[in-house]
Symmetry: none
Subunit: 413 residues, 2 copies
């Protein structure tokens, strides 16, 4: 509540629950004080059958959620030996000594189901709320407490909490949601292209939503009720017929995951030669497990010296055309491909800003070269954004060039 932490739990948990057909009716954040935590939990339990609390289960003095919720429900805390052993093992595995205050994470309220934490020390806690637990008339329900760090909360929710929710609250409303991930078109252009073709479906209840980031637009299709599946499938078919080339994936798929998958399927390798993106494309590709088989390597050639010594860009080219030029991009890509022996080479050179622009080559100028077996293509977009957005947008354009090249190679073979 001091504005130091961005709450990403709301979006993530709402997404998971909506996909399963459970509507979320409220999200509340409160400061780390007893009355605030207890008021929020008491009010939530009066309002909903399922209440999920996140954070405040750690070892430090501001981790108070467990204690205050146990007190609110009148349940005693006791040491859980399995959890204590897990906390001890966690530190032993990392060859670190265990600070004594860490043991508080093994305190568990009575009548509570403990969810082991595969990625941290604090366990998840699940309490069945019975009528009369809070006040004489409260309804029955379920209270789930999850650790705050996303990398602990998310797998715990997916693997352990979802099965419990489905068992405790069966048959929610039929709800189908499909996300089509696109790149290369703005959201209003997409809407213009698909809107009228979907009219009969939206009139019958299909919801079409757009989530636009620069460089990527998600088209969301949501339908409810008995015909939800058919409605969403028909809508997807209509959209694919209109903008197929721009749809690179569905659901949570990333462009880098699609590219690594295609490279793997086609048994092709790639090498990166990055100037202004500074390793960002290599980083995105190597976030994907299995990248080691298809990414030969990358060269971050920020300096002209590096462009010459690592990629063989000719000094004459740099002098005559400059580092940010089509001939340089072309020589970077071809040099990287030749020297590495990889099938494809992506080269990027440009002006990320905020400084370095000229009237002739303003901030945002970028050249993307793709050297493929037999030919080299160069793209010249203008990406006048802040530095990190510049890197993202440029990497989208580069990966999309490679994706299309891999697809057309397959179509031609």
């Amino acid at each position: 509540m001091l504005g130091f932490v961005l709450n990403t739990h709301q979006q993530w948990l709402c997404r998971q629950l909506a996909d399963l057909g459970y509507p979320v009716t409220r999200q509340t954040a409160v400061p780390d004080t007893g009355p605030a935590i207890q008021d929020a939990v008491r009010e939530a339990l009066a309002r909903a059958h399922l209440v999920i609390a996140t954070g405040g289960l750690g070892p430090t003095s501001d981790d108070l959620t467990r204690d205050y919720i146990a007190a609110l429900l009148g349940r005693k805390l006791q040491i859980d030996k399995t959890v204590l052993k897990h906390v001890e093992d966690f530190f032993a595995l990392r060859r670190r000594s265990m600070p004594p205050n860490t043991a508080v994470q093994a305190l568990v309220p009575e009548d509570t189901l403990v969810l082991p934490n595969a990625n941290g020390t604090a366990p998840g806690l699940v309490m069945e709320i019975k009528p009369g637990d809070l006040h004489p008339t409260n309804q029955p329900g379920m209270l789930v407490m999850l650790p705050g760090p996303p990398r602990e909360l998310r797998p715990m929710f997916t693997n352990q909490v979802i099965p419990l929710i489905r068992q405790r609250f069966p048959s929610p409303e039929m709800f189908v949601c499909r996300t089509l991930k696109t790149t290369g078109l703005g959201e209003s252009v997409i809407q213009e292209k698909i809107d009228s073709a979907l009219k009969h479906l939206t009139e019958a209840g299909l919801e079409v939503g757009y989530c636009a980031r620069i460089g990527e637009v998600d088209v969301r299709l949501v339908a409810r009720g008995g015909l939800a599946q058919e409605t969403v499938s028909e809508a997807e078919a209509i959209i694919r017929a209109l903008i197929e080339h721009h749809i690179f994936g569905t659901g949570d798929e990333t462009l880098e995951a699609v590219v690594v998958r295609l490279l793997t399927e086609r048994k092709r390798t790639v090498v990166l030669a990055e100037s202004c993106t500074g390793g960002y494309i290599a980083n995105r590709l190597t976030n994907i497990s299995g990248a080691s088989a298809v990414v030969w390597g990358g060269l971050v050639t920020y300096s002209n010296d590096a462009k010459q010594s690592l990629l063989g860009v000719r000094p004459e080219t740099l002098v005559a055309h400059g580092a940010v030029s089509e001939p340089t991009a072309r020589e970077m890509a071809e040099g990287a491909r030749q020297r590495s022996g990889a099938d494809y080479a992506i080269a990027v050179t440009g002006i990320a800003g905020p400084t370095g622009g000229t009237p002739d080559k303003p901030v945002g100028t970028v050249l993307i070269a793709l050297a493929a077996p037999g030919k080299t293509k160069v793209l010249k977009p203008t990406n006048p954004y802040d530095r990190e957005t510049f890197k993202f947008v440029t990497s989208q354009q580069a990966l999309e060039m490679l994706r299309r090249s891999l697809l057309s190679e397959a179509a031609g073979s």
Copy 2:
């Protein structure tokens, strides 16, 4: 509430209000329905003197906040001619025809102050809540409604709302906040080291908070009242005396920004040789404006072939010790430094996982070598995390090695 949009307003508004000394006691998100919006606003007005509502002021069918709040407070909506003119001008300036539904944004409840929107069409609305407006006993207060898009909300809040709040709720409590950014120690270890030394200050009202990500822990010091500045300064001095080496920055500073600053001050350059981090360290450094003067370049040597041809790692070393070994890390760093002519070289080799681990070298094994003028150091941490966390933690350890080396170089000179 379907999880398609990340709510960044809470963090941003809380930060602004906390800096001015206004504590935020609760944040609530509800679906776009009448009862949910009205319940949330009614409850908030019963709880606080100042209530800020965001979003739902636009022209589309799901923009209902204005209507439902006006109905809740029994105020009629009427067309505001100045707003209508602004909306019309907004479209005319962009040479776009004005869709008819856009005019609803000119509807304003009676007795409402209108805040012009410099970056969009929907105005902000400020209502004075008088005793009896909601129910016979409600307190007086102020209700502010702001448009949802951050690029409209933020300047409107800064330029128009803050002055109104300061005028309406004068002399808030003095509030001082300082964040110390640390790496290399877990949050419970930090707490153990500093807790008792701060006891006299926490007993007098100092709040110490921890925000822990793996690889980085923020220690936040908050004090209120007339002695807030002195209290926070004293606390900072005590903490610095205890864990100085682990504090790399304050406020919003990142480790990569500190490293680029130190390299620039010392006139030193660095080259990266990354295997398992796949360009992530190069990417972090090149996110910082000015990196081009101090980052010679980077080599992402994912394959053994790349390690040999780009860095000169000897085949015998790879055969005898493997790619993930101290001798390989050492040769990578020394090869990169020699071939580039940079002052420092960082080399990283390890097993990011989830596959590739062996009993001898499990997933998370990593070697970080720093080749500095005159000597090469190798660190052997174990980072058994998911792939992206692995990259972040490893890059923190590598950048921290370089930061300390740059500092000790300065101390020695």
